[in-house]
């Protein structure tokens, strides 16, 4: 299944923000915005929900901390109890450093792994929907052409205020996006063909 998309290119941060806001206000379905760097305020402009990665990090960190505390207690109190340096079998104050390190290790690496998994980033991946120059100096706004009025030509005046340098239509295969849901989910794309 394929779908037509309208892609508008801009050269300035303010323009892409303005264009995105206006598109959202006018009820167009914003598929995604492609930028060379993280544009401040773009999440609001696109209406993205605040990312839940914080919770992922917190849960992983907690797992690391609990694992470390109980692991150390198991080692020193259960599996091989030995009095070392006159310290009590349960030397909790001395277990805090390792507990903390494990919390950070799990929280940090856990968030990175989940970031890659949720964003479908992995080695040897062919970039989905890669537009020219968006990793260098162009900003691109991609709208779903779900009605006859949304064509590159119709949108020309719409984006004129924002100095769009180029507007084009692209036909992409099976590109699905959670329409209307202001989720922070990725643009799910299986196969894309570029023309």
């Amino acid at each position: 299944m394929s779908q037509t998309y309208v892609v508008a290119y801009f050269e300035h941060e303010d323009d892409i923000l303005g264009a995105t806001r206006k598109s959202r206000e006018s009820g167009h379905t914003i598929v995604d915005v492609f930028t060379p760097y993280a544009v401040h305020g773009m999440d609001e402009a696109m209406g993205l929900r605040f990312s839940r990665m914080t919770w992922v990090c917190f849960i992983f960190g907690m797992l690391g901390a609990l694992g470390a505390v109980f692991g150390q207690m198991y080692i020193t109190m259960v599996d091989w109890p030995a009095v070392i340096g006159g310290k009590p079998l349960n030397s909790l104050p001395a277990y805090i450093p390792i507990t903390f390190e494990c919390a950070v290790l799990f929280g940090g690496l856990g968030s990175i792994v989940v970031l890659f998994a949720r964003s479908k980033l992995f080695p040897f991946k062919k970039p989905d929907f890669l537009l020219p120059s968006v990793t260098n100096d162009k900003f691109a706004l991609v709208l779903k052409a779900d009605s006859a009025t949304i064509t590159a030509k119709d949108l020309q005046p719409f984006f004129a205020d924002f100095g769009a340098t180029h507007i084009e239509e692209r036909l992409e295969d099976t590109l699905t996006v959670a329409e209307g849901a202001p989720g922070s989910g990725p643009v799910h794309q299986t196969e894309t063909t570029h023309h």
Binding site: P36, A38, M42, P97, E101, G108, I112, S119, K125, V134
Partner: protein, 456 residues
């Protein structure tokens, strides 16, 4: 969204650059053959590294009896170097994480290379305990894993095991932080480069990054989280290193201020090294417009701040040693300042406390030559700080019949030089193969000048 910047703000990147220009200029060193000065530096560093490999091989084969240790001074050169290198790394994390959390946008020009420096410094530091193990191939024994020896576990009450966890966590999280920061830039290079090999390598490394804001959104959250984790991590790492000493009962080692004092010292020494490296790099790679004198000046201010904190800690230690009324505490500190190692102590004080005070003067802060010289002094001073703490506290203990001195052997000195070689070799290679400045982040700070209507 327009920015309401105070008239007092200075531009972070000079020369009104367009976004494409930034990409090209930062990537330039990667696209051309190395300069003569690069080759010269690389040759020196690589020779030092080769010598170090020789020295390390020799001491592993013969044993650590090749060191100058004795029964009183059981820890000296090796651990001094370990603490020194770990400390160097801390500035990188401070720049990339703490300054990020405090929204100090000037960090964008220097964070990439400072983080790389962190990784290389931690690698260098890790070598020393490995060598000290005597049988480095059995290093995995320090890990807590079920084994056929009982299971015989490592002792989690021991600060040395805390070190194992701290250093490995520090390395892994810093590496992750660094790599996550690199991904968008790797994609930029993938899309810009014309050579097939480059396209392939950077294509693999950039994990299919396409600049989607849905991913940026999550990416930025994770980046912030990593910064949030790295900040207490950097405090914990040097605190734990300090606890190797502070949990003991040795006067001069056991003192409660050690954790924050070591952290301040580490950041201070790290900034010394960052300044040294940045001043060389901006000259060799012609990055004056990105690493401006404003950057250098701000780093000088942080060095002044942390140097003064270290000075306050020296003073506090000395004062409390006297205030404690304990004759052993008092002796240790008097012996430090006026005993056989007084020369080392005064090198430490003059390099760490007095020299950075020159940064009070704007003229010196903005004079790159002066800053470079002072940064070298800071590096020297901070190495001596660890040496002084470790050796002077050991060489004269409770029994005067045990009193002795310490002189490093040739092998120990060669190892240190070799590790410097490793550090600079890695850094020089990094400058060639990866973007030394974070392309994406620099673009985001020039962007306020990047509106169509009012070009500045």
């Amino acid at each position: 969204m327009s920015a309401h910047y105070s008239p007092l703000r200075v531009k972070l990147v000079e020369g009104n650059k367009s976004l494409g220009q930034i990409t090209d200029e930062i990537c330039r060193p990667m696209n051309r053959l190395p300069s003569k000065s690069w080759w010269l530096a690389f040759l020196v560093a690589f020779s030092a590294l080769m010598m170090g490999i020789g020295a390390i091989t020799y001491q592993v084969l013969v044993g650590i009896g090749t060191w100058g240790l004795n029964t009183s001074v059981g820890w000296a050169f090796d651990i001094t170097n370990f603490v020194f290198w770990i400390g160097i790394g801390h500035a990188g994390t401070l720049i990339s994480a703490i300054l990020f959390l405090f929204r100090q946008k000037w960090r964008t020009s220097i964070n990439r290379s400072a983080e790389a420096m962190t990784l290389f410094a931690v690698m260098c530091a890790g070598l020393f305990p490995l060598i000290h193990m005597g049988r480095p191939w059995l290093a995995f024994w320090v890990g807590p894993y079920p084994n056929t020896r009982g299971s015989l576990w490592p002792n989690p009450r021991s600060p040395l095991l805390w070190d194992v966890f701290a250093i490995s966590t520090y390395f892994l999280v810093s590496a992750g932080f660094w790599y996550v920061g690199l991904i968008p830039d790797l994609a930029t290079i993938r899309d810009k480069s014309t050579s097939k090999i480059k396209k392939f390598i950077f294509g693999v490394l950039s994990l299919g990054w396409n600049g989607s804001n849905r991913i940026w959104s999550r990416y930025e959250t994770v980046y912030m989280l990593l910064a949030g984790l790295a900040t207490p991590l950097v405090l914990s790492v040097h605190s734990i290193v300090s606890m190797d000493f502070a949990t003991s009962v040795i006067p001069g080692w056991h003192t409660t201020i050690f954790p924050p004092y070591f952290v301040a010292g580490a950041v201070f020494s790290g900034f010394g090294m960052v300044l040294t490296l940045m001043i060389i790099a901006r000259k060799v790679l012609n990055l004056h417009e990105y690493i401006t004198t404003t950057h250098i000046e701000r780093m000088c201010k942080i060095a002044l701040l942390t140097g003064s904190m270290v000075g306050l800690a020296y003073g506090t230690e000395f004062f409390i040693a006297w205030y404690s009324g304990s004759i052993y505490e008092r002796f240790t500190f008097l012996n430090r300042a006026f005993g056989p190692f007084a020369w080392a102590y005064w090198i430490m004080v003059s390099c760490n406390v007095i020299t950075p005070q020159l940064f009070w003067f704007k003229k010196l802060r903005t004079n790159v030559k002066w800053v470079f010289i002072i940064s070298i002094f800071i590096n020297i001073g901070m190495w001596f700080e660890r040496f002084v703490i470790i050796v002077t506290s050991l060489h004269r203990d409770y029994l005067p019949s045990n009193w002795t001195g310490y002189v490093p052997t040739k092998i120990e000195v060669m190892t240190l030089i070799g590790v410097f070689g490793l550090f600079f070799t890695l850094f020089l290679i990094f400058c060639r193969v990866l973007p030394m400045i974070s392309i994406g982040e620099v673009k985001s700070v020039v962007s306020y000048a990047n509106t169509r209507n009012k070009e500045h």
